[in-house]
């Protein structure tokens, strides 16, 4: 066991990195490190010698010289420490859109094929090993690479099915978002569960009979014979078979598609092209704030089609664009990907039910606010959805924004606004008395220093720029 004296006062273990005994991630200062066991180090050296480490799809990594402070972090004593490039903002598969999970899956398979060519393998297949730099997926778990062993099958195949293939199939075939499933189970969907969701007809679709139906059946049949199976597999399994299986999986994943409903496409295009006076003034307001200084991380919550995320990106290092509606976020991701954007990270999440801490001790996956505070938050055309649709009291929403400790651009649509009227229409008369301009302004003023505000031409929308209190 480690005693406090053995670990550096400033270093902090990443609580989500404990499953693989050969490597462990920790932080010291602003840097990300990975301690390696002796076996882990040998694997890392094989990776480095293969040249694959320099691949731009893998996170920048170098050996760090100082290992004295790290005793006791691993089951074995660390043999070496790596320093990783820091990902601007950590995200998880249950926050990605369909195409993001698919791109992460293809990255996983492509790196596995590249590894196999060099007599290496990836020891697991979890999407938590992929992060996004803007619209570009990056593989962050360098500790996943190891030297291939004779007769070794694709160990990560089952995990690939459970966390990549089945969630993608669910959304692609059934139009059911995979997010609640992936968020609800850290290991993903089992073959038996996936099988139960498919119809008789589905077994004739490409790849489904083997990867779902047969998989579920064999799992049940061989569950109590692991030792026997292991010996048999070792005897007959060849690398060629491994490569063939991965290639087949790649073809299958490549074919999977999902598209947002037609209305989303129309709205996405329209909102990008609107040019009325309100929109122009809103653009200017956001642009003035965004470019008034250099912002580190900007959250655009309720980003919709990303119009203001793009404006914010003019003055920010990283923009996290979040919306509860997956459709526009998916289309935004596709556009950003086509542009090669590595600045705007798209996520889909309901802010009235944001990602919690998950996994062992609730610490393996961090809640949204636990992954680095924003410097500026854009909350445009959002407060009425939170207050009226999600019934979050206005004061609580403002207090939550204040708890982030960041500057804020917020838009308040008044009760006369057509959208607000529409949201209020099905509700009982007299509900949401706190949704009122005067009350909102008082609440905002209590929690923030309001620097400036502007009422848009139409008169039903007001914009504010506010700074956190206490400097």
């Amino acid at each position: 066991m480690s005693s406090p004296a053995e670990t550096s006062a400033t270093s902090q273990l990443e609580p989500g990195s404990f499953r693989d005994p050969e490597s462990r991630v920790f932080y010291a200062g602003d840097e990300v490190y990975r301690a390696l066991s002796p076996d882990g180090l040998s694997d890392f050296e094989a990776l480095r010698e293969s040249g694959l480490l320099d691949d731009e799809r893998i996170v920048r990594t170098a050996i760090a010289d100082d290992t004295a402070a790290l005793r006791g972090l691993l089951v074995h004593e660390p043999a070496a420490v790596l320093r990783h490039e820091r990902v601007p903002f950590v995200s998880y598969p249950y926050e990605w859109t369909f195409s993001m999970l698919k791109d992460a899956a293809l990255l996983q398979l492509d790196l596995l094929l590249a590894a196999l060519e060099r007599d290496l393998v990836l020891k697991d297949s979890t999407p938590y090993n992929v992060q996004f730099k803007g619209a570009r997926p990056v593989f962050v778990d360098v500790g996943s690479f190891e030297r291939i062993r004779e007769g070794e099958p694709w160990v990560g195949y089952r995990q690939f099915c459970m966390l990549y293939l089945y969630p993608l199939l669910l959304q692609s075939l059934k139009d059911v978002p995979f997010h609640p499933w992936v968020r609800g189970s850290i290991d993903g969907m089992t073959p038996a569960q996936m099988r139960a969701l498919l119809s008789f007809r589905d077994r004739f679709r490409r790849g489904l009979f083997t990867n779902v139906f047969l998989h579920a059946r064999l799992e049940r049949r061989y569950a109590d014979r692991p030792e026997q199976v292991k010996q048999e597999v070792k005897r007959v399994f060849k690398k060629e078979l491994f490569v063939a299986n991965v290639r087949k999986m790649r073809k299958l994943v490549e074919r999977l598609t999902w598209n947002p409903p037609e209305g989303v496409w129309t709205a996405y295009g329209e909102r990008n092209s609107y040019t009325d006076d309100d929109a122009r003034r809103k653009d200017d307001f956001v642009r003035e704030v965004a470019t008034s200084r250099e912002w580190g991380i900007v959250w655009d919550i309720g980003c919709n089609n990303g119009r203001y995320s793009r404006i914010a990106a003019e003055g920010a290092r990283t923009v996290v664009a979040v919306d509860a509606d997956q459709g526009p976020v998916e289309l935004l991701y596709r556009d950003l990907r086509a542009d090669g954007n590595d600045q705007i990270l798209t996520l889909t999440m309901n802010l009235a039910d944001p990602s919690p801490g998950l996994g062992w001790r609730g610490l393996e996956r961090k809640p949204l606010a636990g992954r680095g505070r924003p410097d500026l938050v854009l909350a445009l055309a959002l407060v009425h959805h939170m207050a009226i649709s999600a019934n979050v009291p206005v004061k609580e929403f403002v207090d939550w924004l204040a708890s982030l400790g960041s500057a804020l651009v917020i838009e308040f649509p008044t009760r006369e606004d057509p959208m607000v009227k529409k949201l209020l229409a099905p509700k009982r008369e007299g509900l949401h008395p706190d949704y009122e301009l005067g009350f909102f302004e008082r609440t905002l003023g209590e929690a923030f220093e309001v620097e400036r505000s502007e009422r848009l031409e139409s008169g039903t929308r007001v914009l504010y720029f506010a700074r956190p209190k206490r400097g």
Binding site: K123, D124, C161, R220, V236, A244
Partner: protein, 61 residues
């Protein structure tokens, strides 16, 4: 490195499946090869000059 497998449980059924799925692929490749030979034999497809040997196959014998 004593154990065959890493920290992750690959699943017994999942391993068997890979052999079966791979077996199907192997049969398909073999069939394709013989189909090509048959076409050549029947003079439907012309002989192509032998491509230079890329790398010697690692034989098991």
């Amino acid at each position: 490195m004593t154990g065959l497998l890493a920290y992750l449980d690959p699943g017994s059924g999942s391993m068997i499946l890979q052999i079966i799925a791979g077996g199907v692929a192997a049969v398909a490749v073999t069939a394709k090869l013989y189909w090509g030979r048959l076409l050549k034999f029947l003079r439907i497809r012309k002989d192509e000059p032998e491509p230079p040997k890329a790398e010697p196959a690692r034989g098991s014998e």
